[in-house]
């Protein structure tokens, strides 16, 4: 089992969700987050006062998948979320040691 965490531009969420659904991913967790990388923030000006806004709104998608699906899913996310411009986001993959489906007590690959 692996966990994929993808930080993407908010307006790309629908496309990424559809791309994952196409390859058979059945669920995901989505969070509105703020952060910055190379894109940095922007400046707001109110009359004579300038404020730099460092943190930009992003969407974080978390999906836990069986090892067999991971490469395909990462490729789908990258394909769907790409605009080619700075600030497109990142995808992280990490190992998950256990999963439990609460309703049925199933564990491991059968639970994800």
């Amino acid at each position: 089992m692996k966990k994929i965490e993808a930080i993407i531009k908010p307006f790309k969420l629908e496309e990424v969700k559809d791309a994952l659904a196409e390859i058979g991913v059945e669920g995901m967790t989505v969070t509105e987050v703020k952060g910055f990388g190379r894109q940095k923030g922007h400046t707001e000006i109110y009359r004579g006062s300038e404020y730099t806004v460092d943190f930009l709104p992003k969407i974080k998608i978390e999906v836990v998948l069986t090892d067999a699906l991971v490469d395909q899913a990462v490729a789908a996310i990258v394909r769907a979320a790409k605009t080619g411009k700075i600030g497109d986001g990142k995808v992280f993959v990490s190992a998950v040691s256990e999963a439990v489906r609460i309703r049925t007590d199933e564990t491991g690959d059968r639970a994800v």
């Binding site: 707001e44 004579g48 006062s49 404020y51």
Partner: protein, 527 residues
């Protein structure tokens, strides 16, 4: 009749003192004899006179003039001879308000209140951080309540009374609004109720100190704000309003023949915007900067509220400016038009400058421009034509823009919401531009017996020739200088005294938590 004679006899006795007690019975028949033959012979007004009186309503002139020929000579209390209507003379056009003028003034009164509640409260409220939004609303509500009480008790009389016979302060005859009823006070208007006039002027007294709130936002104790404003009304507003608008006022060029400085200020450039703006600057400097100023993010918490407030200010300003004609007449119509042109021009030009010079036309830019345009046209609206109004609109965008965008940062004071940059700079600019652009073609009051030349057969204060031949700007500058001195000195004194006696600022902890929860026990948003 007998009772009246007895009362007259009694008052005679008391005024003559104790030495001549026998005078009482002798005095008795005298007033009775003087009054008795007159009472039944009240003359009839002709139809022509009555039509003339109705025409006076259309022209906003004195209906008494129509019945002038019926007046009789009579000695008054001081023994001077004066012309009065015979006893028992009654006309339905005398002593009553004209419905159209009165209706417009009640509407205007409500519109000017609307500028403060909620217009200014939202305009300012949107511009502060969300932890302080309620403190701004509370200060605006506080002004509305406290100033109303002060106005009822003393303010109205000190501004619009005249028994002090002083160019600096009104009188005591209307304390607690004694005698202020629904009949017109012909010192100020022939066709609007005295009480409506008083309420209308009160709304100006409410919004003026509320404007100061913008400069000291987010960092002054509520009790200190209210105490400051209470003292400020007596030391700055009441005297200034009398000087500019009182019939015996020092700077009332249009209505006071003896005005030493015959300046003009239609709706309050000096009285409202300069006093509040310059006082705001002094107070915010004595108060000090907000904790974290220049370091923390202090961006407006809601540009939406700010825009809603701006729209209300703009709409309410029609009552403020066009209402200042004190009639639904041609002068009001002109003020209505110039107000619209100046506000729209300034709003658009300000945003255009932002778009060209900085890349974005901002909502705050549109709003700041609109308010600046309204401020600058305020003293001029009843005196300039439509061309003048558009010129004023452009100037109202350019000058305050430079001030709040560039100069303010160089000076380093923390005028939180730019009361100084918009109201003081704009009010001063308006007073000067009124001097250049006043046009007697739009307002006949600039050319009357009051404003006639000083050396004429019936000497006036000389305003008319200043308007016609130039020179009004110099007089306007004198009015500006006096306004500055009064505002700055009085604010210095009040603020320093309060700072020593009660302290102006809340503790650092309270300021950090926000004034809403600490001072008012509430939060603006529980979402």
């Amino acid at each position: 009749m007998a009772l009246a004679a007895c009362l007259a006899a009694l008052s005679l006795t008391s005024s003559q003192g104790q030495e001549t007690p026998p005078a009482a019975p002798q005095a008795k028949p005298a007033p009775a004899a003087a009054v008795a033959p007159e009472a039944p012979s009240a003359p009839e007004a002709t139809l022509e006179m009555r039509v003339n009186a109705l025409e006076a309503y259309l022209q906003n002139t004195n209906p008494e003039d129509a019945f002038k020929s019926l007046k009789v000579k009579k000695k008054n209390d001081k023994g001077e001879e004066e012309e009065v209507f015979p006893e028992g003379f009654k006309q339905s056009t005398l002593g009553v308000a004209g419905p159209g003028h009165n209706g417009w003034m009640m509407t205007s009164t409500a519109l000017v209140l609307f500028m403060t509640l909620p217009g200014l409260a939202l305009f300012y409220g949107g511009l502060v951080r969300k932890k302080n939004v309620l403190s701004v609303l509370a200060q605006c509500l506080g002004c509305a309540g406290m100033v109303t009480l002060l106005w009822w008790a003393f303010g109205y009389s000190l501004v619009f009374g005249k028994n002090f016979a002083s160019p600096y302060l009104g009188g005591s005859e209307y304390f607690f609004m004694q005698g202020v009823d629904s009949a017109p006070n012909t010192d100020y208007s022939f066709w609007i109720s005295h009480n409506v006039f008083s309420m209308y002027q009160m709304m100006f007294a409410i919004i003026t100190p509320a404007l100061i709130v913008g400069a000291i936002a987010e960092r002054m104790k509520f009790t200190a704000v209210m105490t400051f404003i209470g003292a400020w009304m007596f030391l700055v507003y009441f005297p200034m309003a009398h000087m500019v608008w009182g019939v015996t006022g020092l700077m009332n060029g249009v209505w006071n023949k003896e005005a030493v400085i015959p300046a003009i200020d239609f709706a309050g450039g000096t009285v409202v915007h300069m006093t509040s703006g310059w006082s705001a600057l002094v107070l915010c400097m004595i108060l000090g900067k907000r904790a974290g100023f220049g370091k923390d993010r202090m961006a407006p918490h809601s540009m939406v509220l700010c825009m809603v407030g701006t729209g209300m200010l703009w709409v309410g300003w029609y009552g403020f400016n066009a209402g200042s004609a004190l009639a639904a007449d041609g002068v009001a119509a002109n003020a209505f038009t110039t107000t619209t042109l100046a506000a729209a021009t300034a709003s658009f030009v300000w945003a255009l400058m932002e778009r060209v010079l900085r890349g974005h036309a901002s909502i705050l830019g549109f709003c700041s421009g609109a308010v600046a345009g309204l401020v600058v046209i305020t003293p001029a609206c009843g005196f300039v034509n439509s061309t003048g109004a558009v010129l004023i609109g452009v100037a109202a965008a350019v000058v305050p823009y430079i001030f709040v965008m560039h100069l303010k940062a160089k000076f380093g004071y923390d005028d939180a919401l730019d009361t100084f940059g918009v109201h003081a700079v704009g009010g001063t600019l308006g007073a000067v531009l009124t001097g250049f652009l006043a046009d007697k073609a739009v307002n006949a009051n600039l050319d009357t017996a009051v404003t006639a030349a000083k050396d004429a057969a019936e000497p006036g204060n000389g305003l008319a020739s200043l308007v016609a031949n130039g020179g009004l700007v110099g007089v306007q500058c004198k009015a500006i200088a006096l306004t500055l001195v009064i505002s700055i000195v009085a604010t210095l004194v009040i603020a320093l005294v309060l700072k020593a006696v009660m302290g102006l600022r809340p503790t650092a902890e309270v300021e950090d938590a926000g004034l809403d929860i600490s001072e008012h026990g509430e939060e603006g948003y529980l979402l």
